[in-house]
């Protein structure tokens, strides 16, 4: 066995540390919150170190058990997984910081901490996995921890939403697993890169493409199979909504992206176009539904349905490099902005006792920082500069023009206008002056500032975007460049 380069064990710590922290947080409930926060900080450091490593040395493989693919399981890190690990750590850190004060105002017990740590472990493991079956296990760990967190809001509709989410996600996982079975019996391996080398376009590969794409579309809430998302994301406790909308729902898309570059590279254009069309419909449908909602958290949840649509515009535009760059920056921007909006909404809910949009009158006076966080997050969702979402959309439009398919560019712009409509609808109510007696019970500053910090990061993401974009499209992405050049 070869000696390891120094520093290359970061991939291991990114997975083991949250798991170990979950065990400690379970055994010692008193220090659970501290353990979880310490772990989130460490995850930020480890993710940055890993990103630095893959930027310097290129994509990085790690053979668990020392066997190496295809017999063993490999972990794989490149700039794409690196930046997503960083943003996951940032969102989790802010959300858990917020949760300390949030949970004190609810009946939710200390088991929140180990479960959220399992969720973080699942997310990191998924982002680093290079093995089709291992991805199935990480998807299950992720879904089950997400469902568990939704069910923490112990009311009828949250429990019903959690059950619906669980059943949808089991069925989706099984479709994915059946696809894995077909791929394994076609190519005889499970490692994604090895699959890419050996897979040929037989009917079994076609069936696997259909099954796995369908399963991941359900898990990733692509229109029209997003039915489980609005309930699960809006009735969950607010920090959970933030984690789910910002991070968890992106994970299936990430898996699909990886498959698109590995075993399914060279899938016919029609499949990409279909996914893009569903994405476009998601943007329109989700935005229109968001406009109709009476409750703030449901509005934000439908906004997520719409924003997921943008991610799937990647598939028809996959030929040009700026599509991958655009969609990556978009994921980062949406993760930060959407987490900020859900945390802000949770703050309003806790202070006002409700989240009815038309009764948000006093928010501007009572909760200025919270409202600022929501407004800045909303501006990012609209895609105004200098937000990351703006850069992401810009790159997607660029990709559309590069391929001469300006129709997708129209969708991107129209979606921005629709999102402006629903964000301003909320802000309009929030800035209304009202003479009702002022309720003195403010939110703790920690909750407002956690949301605001995320919103500020989302807004200024565009400023840091240039080096980020170079990372994703640059020489570091050799594997992607290599695999995507394998056209039939």
């Amino acid at each position: 066995m070869t000696a390891l380069e120094p520093g290359s064990t970061w991939v291991v710590w990114l997975i083991v540390s949250p798991l170990a922290a979950a065990l400690i947080a379970f055994l010692l409930p008193r220090v659970a919150a501290a353990i979880a926060l310490a772990n989130a900080l460490f995850m930020g450091v480890a993710a940055l170190a890993l990103l630095d490593l893959v930027t310097e040395q290129g994509p990085h493989r790690y053979s668990l058990g020392g066997w190496g693919a295809p017999l063993g399981i490999d972990l794989y890190a490149d700039p794409l997984s690196g930046v997503l690990l960083v943003v996951a750590a940032v969102v989790v850190l802010a959300t858990l910081f917020y949760s300390r004060d949030y949970l004190a105002r609810t009946a939710i017990g200390p088991l929140f901490w180990p479960i959220s740590l399992f969720l973080h472990a699942a997310l990191n493991a998924l982002l680093l996995s290079a093995d089709a079956f291992n991805l199935y296990v990480t998807l299950e760990l992720l879904s089950l921890s997400a469902v568990a967190l939704v069910a923490l809001a112990d009311e009828q509709r949250a429990v019903a939403a959690a059950l619906r989410y669980l059943l949808a996600s089991i069925v989706a996982s099984l479709a994915y697993l059946l696809g894995v079975a077909l791929l394994y019996h076609t190519a005889g391996v499970l490692d994604l890169a090895a699959l890419a080398e050996r897979a040929t376009w037989t009917p079994a590969t076609w069936a696997a493409l259909g099954l796995m794409t369908a399963g991941l579309a359900v898990k990733g809430a692509l229109f029209p199979v997003h039915f489980w998302l609005p309930g699960a994301h809006s009735y969950a406790p607010s920090p959970v909504s933030a984690l789910l909308s910002a991070l968890v729902v992106k994970a299936p898309f990430y898996v699909l992206l990886r498959l698109w570059y590995a075993p399914f590279a060279g899938a016919p254009e029609a499949v990409g176009t279909l996914l893009g069309l569903l994405g476009a419909l998601a943007i329109v449908w989700g935005s229109l539904q968001a406009l109709r909602q009476a409750r703030l958290k449901l509005l934000i949840a439908y906004s997520t349905v719409a924003q997921i649509g943008y991610l799937f515009l990647f598939f028809p535009l996959a030929q040009s490099r700026s599509a991958l760059q655009g969609v990556t920056v978009f994921i980062l921007g949406h993760a930060l902005a959407k987490a900020a909006m859900f945390l802000a909404a949770g703050n309003m809910h806790k202070c006002l006792g409700h989240d009815r949009i038309q009764d948000l009158h006093r928010v501007a006076r009572e909760l200025p920082v919270t409202l600022a966080a929501f407004a800045v997050g909303g501006v990012c969702i609209m895609g105004l500069p200098p937000s990351g979402n703006f850069i992401g959309k810009w790159l997607l439009i660029e990709a559309a023009f590069a391929q001469g398919e300006w129709g997708w560019a129209v969708v991107v712009v129209a979606g921005g206008l629709l999102s402006a409509a629903y964000v301003f609808r909320v802000l309009g109510h929030a800035f209304t002056v009202d003479d009702k007696p002022v309720d003195a019970s403010g939110a703790p500053a920690s909750m407002a500032w956690a949301a605001f910090a995320l919103a500020l990061l989302a807004l200024t993401l565009g400023v840091f975007a240039a080096p980020l974009i170079d990372l994703i499209g640059g020489p570091g992405e050799t594997a992607v460049a290599h695999l995507s050049s394998r056209e039939p």
Binding site: E155, Q156, R157, V159, L177, F227, P230, G231, A301
Partner: protein, 100 residues
């Protein structure tokens, strides 16, 4: 090959059942049958040609899958019980997903 065909038959029957199910326990039964179907495909395809030796990798994947399935089943059952136990909670104020 017989068993893999039986596997996809189970997958399809259970898929239909889970789409049409209204009672949670029925849906839970259906996803369990569905997972059995997938497992059957996973193992049986390794023996699609007579005389092949058993491949231990799908066996291990199925054992992993069985444990994941029982975890999810237990969670779903307890969620169902919570759903039945909560009566005081608010009801249909604004149902998500109910389109115009």
């Amino acid at each position: 090959m017989l068993y893999s065909l039986a596997g996809i038959a189970l997958f399809c029957i259970a898929l239909r059942a889970v789409i049409l199910a209204t009672a949670p326990l029925r849906a839970i039964l259906a996803v369990n049958v569905m997972s059995s179907g997938v497992f059957l495909v996973l193992v049986a395809l390794a023996r699609r040609t007579p005389g092949l030796v058993a491949d231990p990798v799908p066996h291990a994947m199925v054992i992993t899958g069985i444990v994941v399935a029982v975890s999810a089943t237990a969670m779903a059952i307890v969620l169902t019980q919570r759903l039945r136990a909560n009566v005081s909670a608010p009801t249909v104020e604004d149902t998500p997903g109910a389109g115009p």
